[in-house]
Amino acid sequence: MRKVYMVSGGITKFVKASPEKNFQLMVKDAFDYAMKDVPKLNKDMIDGCVASYFSDHFARQLMAGIMVQDYLGLCPKPGKRIEGGGATGGLCFQSAYEAVASGRMEVCVAYGFETMSHVETWKGNEFIALASDTNYDYPVGGFYSGYYAMMVVRHMHEFGTTREQLAKVSIKNHRNAYYNPYSQKRMKITVKDVLNSEMVAWPLTRLDICTMSDGAAVCILASEKMAEKLTDKPVLITGVGTGTDAMRMADRPHGNVMLLPHEKASDYKNLKYPGVHSFRAGRAAAKQAYEMAKITNPLKELDVIELHDAYTSSEVQTYEDLGLCKYGEGGKFVEEGYPFLPDIDYGLNLPKQGVLPVNPSGGLIACGHPVGATGLMQAVFMHWQVQGSIKKHFGDDKLQVKNAKRGLIHSHAGTGTYVTATIMERGF
């Protein structure tokens, strides 16, 4: 396979509702931003596109992808749509990677969007719950927050994870968002605020859960030859991994942990895995990406992570899937401060503050989750982190992880059915 670089990215600010712009125009805004960032690139040099959006129900439109591609003026070039629930963006990014790696394209545009404001919030929750088995799961009380709540209740039972530990993820991500002009929920909050916020599904409150949003994001990927021509700050994609698991949580096996190089089978003697407490797909994705990027100790070898924190609980579970700590230690990992940024005052005592910043952007919790755009948003933020260009794009370098050379992005679909992990490194 050929080397693949990300050369540019753009996003719209995610908002609760964007009735003044339709999905074509939102993507166009993000696309124009990305094109402006690499002035040597013109449309003739683009070989094709991959579209990312999750729901035909939200779009009220089939084949919305082609409507974006024609709006961008990129017909009759190749194009297709990728769909995989919450991981749609991550899968789309990897599909664009494949197009360039295989030699089919020199330059490929991955674009994503979602227009979730087109229905009321609780109808939206119903649509999302249709991404669970509609024979067996949805009719019982289809509600994603309920599904994730059940997963974290088992995590708490298995490992002693606490609500206070989950709350610290919320504090971190809302606080980081202060310095990200693209975020929509900037809050200085305490553990108490999170615990006392309105209960949605025990133990998850409103402040543990991301917001449905409207928004778009665009990533431009290129071959080595084109990357050299287009930018002096290309970001090399050194690892891609994708994992899957059964749609019904009831069907998840209770077997052995899929070990990473720094773990031993004896670490998990009595653990039945993944059950419903962990995301096997996340571990599988990470394992492949690490092998490809030759990472053996992710905590030491990664500088920054943007991961799919649709729930504070899933961020904690994902620390473990990614092997930043052992299974069961995710709660302690956040409590001790590892995933916080080093130079921000969170109002917490964090002895290990800033070891490996996770979601410096504020993540889904603070930026929002317009599903098809989300995984690409992470790639855009990571692109800027690894380029060292956060100040240029945010107008402030508070969130710039110093000397960030290698980062991981992680995209995750419904209860851990599809998960992608992608490693991005400085290519200059």
Partner: protein, 164 residues
């Protein structure tokens, strides 16, 4: 009659069926969409038929003996066909939550409890509602007993659980 009076200019029929507008700039309006599906439970039909008879029908793999408390008609482990078997009507709470919100269709039922139930001799779990217990009463590992609706809906809510 004069010639000119016979000529009618073509016109679209006017109706009273206008749209509901919420805003003018940009124009935001209500758009209604509804559909009835012709849905088949296909090879899973014995499960839903079983609920009507007060049984939870699961499956078991002929070859590797993996037990599915929520049926799979082929084994996810080895790919062999499975046979229909009865799941015990008593199990334990594997995990649970109390939902205070829900998808629109379920909002009126809140708060409600969801449980994944584990059964002796079965490898996979079963998603259901737990009735007759509040958030503070529910624990992982507590024993629960299946009950069935008298008026079946032919969906998985025909069975629910209560504390044993």
């Amino acid at each position: 009659m004069a010639n000119g009076e016979n000529k009618k200019s073509p016109k679209l029929e006017e109706t009273m069926e206008g749209n509901i507008l919420y805003n003018l700039d940009p124009i935001i309006m209500k758009y209604h969409y509804e559909i009835d599906y012709i849905h088949s439970y296909a090879q899973d039909s014995p499960f839903f038929a079983g609920l009507v008879k007060g049984k939870i029908m699961g499956t078991r793999c002929d070859k590797c003996n993996y037990g599915y408390a929520t049926p799979k008609t082929h084994c996810m482990q080895c790919g062999s066909p499975t046979k229909w078997v009865e799941v015990p009507l008593e199990g334990k709470v594997h995990t649970w939550t109390t939902c205070y919100f829900g998808g629109e269709a379920f909002l009126k039922e809140t708060p409600f409890n969801l449980v994944l139930v584990e059964f002796e001799g079965f490898d996979s779990l079963f998603l259901s509602r737990l009735i007759g217990a509040e958030q503070k009463d529910i624990k992982v590992g507590m024993k629960v007993q299946a009950r069935f609706r008298r008026k079946s809906k032919f969906d998985p809510t025909d069975v629910y659980f209560v504390p044993a």
